[in-house]
Amino acid sequence: MKKFIIKRLGLAAISLFLLSLTIFLLIRISGDPAVLLAEPGASAADLEAIRTQFGLDRPLWIQYASFIGHLFRADFGQSFYYRTDVFELYLSRLPASLLLAAAAMLFSLVIGIPTGIIAAVRVNRWQDSIGKIFALLGLSMPSFWVGLIMILFFSVYLGWLPSSGSGTVLHLVMPAVALGWVFAAAHMRLTRSSMLEVLGSEYVKLARLKGLPEALVISKHAFKNALIPVLTLAGVNLVIMVNVAVIVETVFAWPGVGRLLFEGIAFRDFPVVQASILLGGTMIVLVNLLVDILYAVIDPRIRYEG
């Protein structure tokens, strides 16, 4: 167990190292890094100042060491556009993203779990086929397109929901559904397979042999057990949602970290782009690490593999 955790920690460290190295190198091989690191429209003198500030004339490994040093101090530089510290800017946008992700998660679970259970209980019947179609559609429709179509119907034609912005619960509905859509399909698939496994278990068989009503067998003996892997996945997906929300947040002008990344790209605000990727990537690596360890604690078989 200890060995597994150490191994997994090492892997996460390599991931983070690769992430930082990739970003560091990409900045330096894609033309003149000073141009990227300077504000758009900087003068030749400004560029020169940037070069000395970042030591761009020094050897690469020294530059990398100083780059890493800044990261460890949570120093991601100043935003060109907002004129504030990027890390603080990111943190100030995070609550909105978390709120959206939480709402999207709620939607995906409310849709995904019941449909997954129905599909499993009625496996290979028409309910299961409908579930399959639903899951396939979820994976085949880009989330931002779902968002646009919803705007067309609920804002333009029906006028029920605001098409963009934030502030009220109504503002949250469409972005949450658009973002949660793909995840609802994923959660449905996992609930279905997890439920099928539990329904085939000996303890569910015994529950039926006891003469319990089928509704009780499913709601008591199968449901709880089937939910464990789904909720674990949901935990990971919450963090992933924060990070893939960039397009949905852009569609609905939702003021989260995804929208921040989009603004960074649109305004060529490089420190913002860099910080968004580094922080988002770190979050995902850490959550993956946490889940792998959690799984190993729950299921001893994993520890002995690989």
Partner: protein
């Protein structure tokens, strides 16, 4: 009540493949009867249809299975004619079953007490507290130490032997008429196996249960049962009182099975195992299914399946050697 407690008449259960092209006759034309307080051992190799027969009795078959024909009279009324709701009130209350793997039969997320009390609450509508008190008593009945503490524990806190006993406690919780035990001891070591068999036997006697004991081990049947039924490829090849069959087995398969178990005072150095493989249940050989392995095979066996012959009082055999003429 007249007639036996359970009377199975010419029962057949088939598995049909997804496209309906392959039919496996898992239970084929089986007739059996069982009286109150009697113990019946069903013996056969794996794939002979023992478990399917048990699941048919409770109407708990997987979706691919079809009960094709026959009757199952329990206390005089046919279980096959009952609606699912009526069947549910019989399962666990009138007919209980212990599964092949009792170790995996407890739900890891609920306490022992909850799981033992569950059938009492569902079938008798007993309030929670009463049901829990009964659950504690049941744990005592299956000889679990400190039952007041154990009811509050979760399955993973208990040893394998204890979990086994708890599954037994669940089975007898509603005082069923029939208890079916499907190879309940295969996963146990010998000492615990013997203890568990003794417990089952004691429970059977004290509750006057009819016990159906499914196993591949004729030796256990000799200790546990009054009646025995031998299954081969979905058919009942021989049935009757244990003593009678042990002394005078009529069917060559039973004879081979008996030769393969050690007996007291046996001077042989090696046990004879039955040669050849059990048949593929999906495509059994024509005629008598046992003929490819039978030491006494005759021409007739290869083409014609023998019907059931009465060889002695209450003893039947499906073998051409058991015809009144050949005896």
């Amino acid at each position: 009540m007249t007639g036996p407690l359970l009377d199975i008449r010419r029962l057949s259960t088939h598995y049909v493949s997804a496209r309906g092209t392959r039919v496996t006759r898992a239970v084929d034309d089986v007739s059996l009867s069982l009286d109150q307080g009697q113990t019946l051992g069903i013996v056969g190799e794996s794939g002979s249809g023992k478990t399917t027969l048990a699941l048919t009795l409770l109407r708990m078959l997987p979706p691919a299975a079809r009960i094709v024909s026959g009757e199952m009279l329990f206390e005089g009324s046919d279980l096959l004619k009952k609606r699912e709701g009526e069947m549910r009130r019989i399962r666990g209350k009138r007919i209980a079953m212990i599964l092949q793997d009792p170790m995996m039969s407890l739900n890891p997320l609920f306490t022992v007490g909850d799981q033992v009390a569950e059938p009492i609450r569902v079938h008798e509508g007993a309030p929670r507290r009463t049901a829990w008190r009964r659950a504690t008593e049941l744990l005592k009945a299956v000889r679990i130490a400190a039952p007041e503490r154990r009811v509050r524990e979760y399955p993973h806190q208990l040893s394998g032997g204890m979990r086994q006993r708890i599954v037994g406690a669940i089975a007898i919780s509603c005082e069923p008429k029939i208890l079916i035990a499907d190879e309940p001891t295969t996963s146990l070591d010998l000492t615990i196996q013997a203890q568990y068999l003794k417990l089952l036997r004691d429970l059977q006697r004290s509750h006057n249960l009819a016990l159906i004991f499914i196993t591949h081990n004729l030796g256990i049947v000799a200790k546990m049962c009054d009646q025995v039924a031998v299954m081969y490829a979905g058919r009942l090849v021989e049935a009757g009182p244990v003593k009678q069959i042990y002394n005078a087995p009529a069917h060559p398969y039973t004879q081979a099975l008996l030769e393969s178990i050690p007996r007291l005072g046996d001077s042989r150095q090696r046990l004879t195992a039955i040669e050849g493989q059990p048949p593929d249940p999906a495509s059994p050989p024509p005629g008598c299914a046992f003929h490819p392995r039978c030491p006494k095979v005759m021409d007739r066996c290869r083409s014609e399946a023998p019907p059931e012959f009465r060889v002695a009082d209450a003893q039947t055999s499906r073998c051409w050697l058991s015809t009144p003429a050949s005896r």
